[in-house]
Subunit: 320 residues, 2 copies
Amino acid sequence: MRGPSVLVIGTGSIGCCYVYLLTKGGCKVTAVCRSNYDAISSSGIHIQSPEHVWGNVHCTPHRVVRKTQECQETFDYVLVCAKTFPERASFVEDIRPVLGKDTLIVLIQNGIGIEEPYQAAFPGQVISGVVYLPVSQPQPGHCSVKGPDILELGTFPASPPPPSLKRLESRLLAGGAHVACFEDIQARRWKKSIINACWNPLAALCLNTDSDFIHCHPEAPNVLRATMHEVAAVATKLGYPLGDAEIEEQVTRAFTRAKHGTGIKMSMLADVENGSPMEVEAVVGNIVRIAREQGIQTPRLEMLWMLAHAKDQHLTGKKQ
Amino acid sequence: MRGPSVLVIGTGSIGCCYVYLLTKGGCKVTAVCRSNYDAISSSGIHIQSPEHVWGNVHCTPHRVVRKTQECQETFDYVLVCAKTFPERASFVEDIRPVLGKDTLIVLIQNGIGIEEPYQAAFPGQVISGVVYLPVSQPQPGHCSVKGPDILELGTFPASPPPPSLKRLESRLLAGGAHVACFEDIQARRWKKSIINACWNPLAALCLNTDSDFIHCHPEAPNVLRATMHEVAAVATKLGYPLGDAEIEEQVTRAFTRAKHGTGIKMSMLADVENGSPMEVEAVVGNIVRIAREQGIQTPRLEMLWMLAHAKDQHLTGKKQ
């Protein structure tokens, strides 16, 4: 049986991992590569990971292109793994020519409210994905995975997973991924936002791991909890109840990692270290905007939002 | 007439300026120097400043010592210009042997609540000073002043300035300082805290000037205002009313500096650049503590407080 065809856009560290998992799962994968085009087109993707994850592996995509426009075909699935920036148009126009009427667009991206532009252009074709995958790409085409992957998928807006999504899930499972489908993926997205919206800017601003932050002062865990409660209040108001239990789960994780000396370097801290722009709006700003619409006060998130913008401006020289 | 004798403790950039101003005003100044002892004992203090401030000047203290304990005498005035850290004992025991019964202890330091340990040990001898003086010490004994000095002095606790304080004021005025005495200096200290408690951690976390911060996002001025309002609410509750007028004055200043490209590098940002510890507790933490006692919510200040601690920990490797 010929495997499904997949286009992966945004072949950063996360994108590279899905090229690998889908190729291993029998898909025909085309990778859109920018800065790592030469490396990946000449020698494929190399991934180092612990034995209990995938070990040290290598894969060669079916095809490597520099731009979506080079593809004169439509795909069964288009995975968008790029970062989300409001000032950069989404890939809506780029992907239009490569979409068939049954193509699923799978957004494997951080943040809240990232699906809207795709949904407006291609209703019924949008899949929202929430990923947990600690990975970096220290050199082009060479990735380093520190822990196991989790991918959570669901339609946008919420509905039971269609057969085409279940087929993708099977391929990913066959490739070794940890993946699950949900009837309402936004509940999972909000749960991850408790971590994302708090830990990411905290790490980027202080340049430390979660474990270091939580131990910097006896009050630090309480400030963290209060910030997480702001995210949870917005989620709860939207019908995705999150509260003390989910927050304590996250705080406890940080304490456990601190105990074992395995504090996590959040992705925004990696951005700061690389001088790359941070997804401030998708990860924090959109939550603040929804909070305002819902009449919820988020003073701590607003502070992190502005500080992250100021830091981003300092790093990238960007002016508004 | 023999001038009064003054001991200056903490001969950083601010301390150097007061050694200069007091020497020029006819005082007999002893400087306690640590890292800049060699430079100042061999070639004095050099200060570069704009013509409308003091121009480029030089002075030689009457005596330079490494420790207060080397001084076998009492002074008319002891100026404490060192940074304030809770984990470092104040100079209470150091200065005990050099105090006569009429010696005034003049604290030229940032923050709130810095006077208590001195007042407890030497009641009736404590003068609280609030200084505005943009100065750095790029190399030992060489200071660079960017704008005019302002020094505000008053007794702690509040009472009319005693004759001995007026005499110090006269000497400082004779030396070219801009100095004024107040019946209740805490009102001035709280006014400065609007700037200190907000701008300092913001700058240290984002590594930018006030002008850059205020332009990083259209919402930045509002987040700044809201944070300043938290400080103002605490001050107002304590009987030092501060509100919209004082806050707009500060926000307007930042916009004006932005317009002229003269954004200010706050002292905590200089600390970050030098890898020096920041006065997080004196400048932010003590305000949060007073707010709690007074039943006032300060979520934005609490966030800045913790972020500044985490940044401080990252910089100095300090663990709590």
